[in-house]
């Protein structure tokens, strides 16, 4: 930012002093701060203790705090689930925005059901966008573990639509 004509209340000596005190009292090894065009690095002598990293000096608050709160609980949910799920699970993500269909026609059988064994290249579902029916094929061999989207529901780009267990 521009050099303002006012006194810079950024990193004055008093603040540096306080930072030194803080560093001394802490178990940290080093403090590095950038503020406007000032960069400051304070370092303690090498110690035996394990190095502790506390990165953001300035709290990296997001405008989206509410959402990140939700995200945490969502993460918790996902994590719980993840414990059941093996590392061999494959997430089928929607390659486009559109409407998800499980079957080729309203009264037809769905392409796949939970528990089905699928082969690479097999059609898993259809995503309709602009009246075009896009068949989504499996990229892996495996067993359908979960179908995340209801028939005829909208999906976003990148949304997980199915989970396939490739470890069978």
């Amino acid at each position: 930012m521009v050099e303002k004509n006012q006194n810079d209340k950024g990193l004055n000596l008093d603040k540096i002093k306080k930072l030194i005190e803080m560093l001394e009292r802490s178990s940290l090894e080093e403090i590095e701060v950038s503020y406007k065009d000032i960069h400051l690095k304070l370092k303690k002598p090498q110690s035996v203790n394990p190095v502790i990293h506390t990165s953001p000096v300035v709290p990296a608050t997001s405008v989206l705090e509410r959402e990140s709160v939700q995200t945490n609980s969502e993460i918790a949910k996902v994590e719980e689930k993840m414990t059941e799920i093996k590392s061999t699970d494959f997430e089928v993500k929607s390659p486009m925005v559109g409407t998800f269909y499980r079957a080729p026609a309203p009264n037809a059988e769905p392409f796949v059901k939970v528990g089905d064994i699928v082969k690479k290249g097999q059609t898993l579902c259809i995503i309709e966008a602009m009246k075009l029916m896009n068949e989504i094929e499996s990229e892996v061999d495996g067993k359908v573990l979960e179908i995340r989207v209801q028939n005829a529901e909208p999906v976003e780009y990148g949304e997980t639509i199915m989970i396939i267990d490739t470890g069978i």
Partner: protein, 445 residues
């Protein structure tokens, strides 16, 4: 009235459309690429749809993704903002075919005015003065030389489908023509997949003056006066203001009425801008932008008319509520575009904004989608905020802009605020003695 508008854009203009929707009580749908998931336009819209990966061609420019997003969210209209698909006649056409209102003029008018040499021909027919030059594309080097001799050097070569300075070459003599012609042609081909060029008289010290047009579906067209955008670098505007310090009331009337005549000739609907080059009492039509412009707040500030709300109401079929004679200019307004770039080398400077404090107080408006902690991505345009001031006089407006720039704190990335301050303190700028060459001259010193 529309029930739900999909905003086919990102950044500050997407927010601007959302504000208008909220004030009109219309629901809004944000579309976004995956890296824009934490953007403010996503947060403030009523709904959001992720439409693709970061690359614009796979998201904000991908017509099927945007139409599909409108379909799954049941939006009945799309606002394209500026840039991206805003001047794409095919997109406007597809919207129409899908029964979604495109908030802008008809696909036919977008197509007509989008081709610069066609637009020029049409305006000539409408009696709008155009810069002497080729009547449409020049077919060969020989033709280019012959026309250039006719209208006298210097001349400028431009890409027919061009924009943003690409495929442009100033030619000062016959000797230079061959190289310039070939270079401009290959640039045009590379940038726009169309190598046709046109040629016109090159003005040495022109001012960029543009007229804001507003039309309804019933042939009512008014102008909201002019803006001057002479402070630019490589055809990228940096500071815009209104009214232009160059125009007398008589000239203002003449240029604005001419713009309305041109717009009426093509049966223009919705908001649009007629751009002119002005030099010494003469003005020449340059091009028409068939969309809302970045600098629209300048006009909103001097007329107290909300252009985005006007666009939506017009697209909805409302009749024009303003009468030309009631449009009054109040005070002076100015906009500085704050870009995430090195202030003097102009290299983009994306990154995380660690502190973002916007100025406030009287006469200061900030349009931005940035916030403390947000990341300015290298994928999109470097505009991070528009700082707009209004005051009773141009001088007061500059003083206000200066204090607003001085109290705009952006940390973590470089911005062009120091350049703006330098311009504002320039004596010639203060006197209003500017041209499109101003910035080049200031920087070369």
């Amino acid at each position: 009235m529309f029930r739900k508008i999909l905003v086919a854009n990102r950044g500050e203009i997407a927010l601007r459309v959302i504000w208008a929707c909220k004030e009109l009580g219309i629901k809004s749908v944000a579309v976004h690429s995956d890296i824009d998931a934490d953007s403010l336009h996503v947060r403030f819209a009523d709904e959001s749809v992720c439409i693709g990966p970061a690359l614009s061609s796979q998201s904000y420019l991908k017509i099927p993704a945007i139409i599909a997003a409108a379909e799954i969210s049941n939006a009945d209209a799309i606002h394209p903002g500026y840039g991206f698909l805003s001047e794409n006649p095919e997109f406007a056409e597809i919207c129409r075919a899908c029964n979604i209102t495109f908030i802008g003029p008809s696909p036919e008018v977008i197509a007509l005015m989008g081709n610069k040499s066609e637009a020029k021909k049409t305006m000539k027919k409408a009696g709008v003065p155009v810069i002497p030059g080729s009547d449409g594309p020049v077919k060969s080097l020989d033709e280019a030389i012959s026309i250039a001799k006719d209208i006298t050097f210097p001349v400028i070569l431009k890409a027919s489908s061009g924009g943003g300075g690409k495929g442009m070459r100033v030619v000062y003599s016959e000797n230079e023509m061959k190289d310039a012609f070939n270079l401009a042609r290959s640039e045009a081909m590379a940038s726009f997949n169309d190598d046709s060029l046109y040629l016109e008289k090159y003005l040495e010290n022109p001012r960029h003056i543009e007229v804001q047009i507003l039309g309804d579906k019933y042939g009512n067209i008014i102008h909201l006066n002019e803006r001057e955008c002479s402070i630019q670098r490589r055809h990228q505007k940096l500071i815009e203001e209104a009214p232009s310090p160059a125009l007398t009331p008589a000239l203002r009337k003449q240029i604005c009425e001419t713009a309305v005549r041109g717009a009426k000739f093509v049966n223009y609907q919705n908001a649009g801008t007629m751009e002119f080059l002005y030099d010494n009492g003469n003005f020449y039509f340059m091009e028409m932008n068939t969309r809302i412009q970045v600098e629209h707040p300048v006009t909103e500030n001097i007329t107290n008319i909300d252009l985005l709300i006007s666009q939506i109401l017009s697209a909805c079929g409302d009749k024009m509520i303003y009468k030309q004679k009631e449009i009054k200019i109040v005070g002076h307004a100015m906009e500085c575009r704050i870009n995430a770039e090195d202030p003097f080398y102009f290299t983009p400077n994306p990154g995380k904004i660690t502190t973002f404090h916007t100025p406030g107080g009287p006469g200061v408006r900030v349009d931005t989608a940035a916030y403390t902690g947000c990341v300015i991505s290298p994928y999109y345009d470097s505009l991070i905020a528009k700082l707009v001031t209004r005051a009773p006089t141009r001088q007061d407006c500059i003083s206000r802009m200066k204090r607003a720039l001085e109290s705009f704190i952006i940390e973590g990335i470089k911005t062009n605020i120091p350049l703006h301050l330098k311009i504002l303190e320039n004596r010639k700028f203060k006197m209003g003695k500017i041209s499109t060459k101003f910035l080049e001259e200031l920087l070369s010193r």
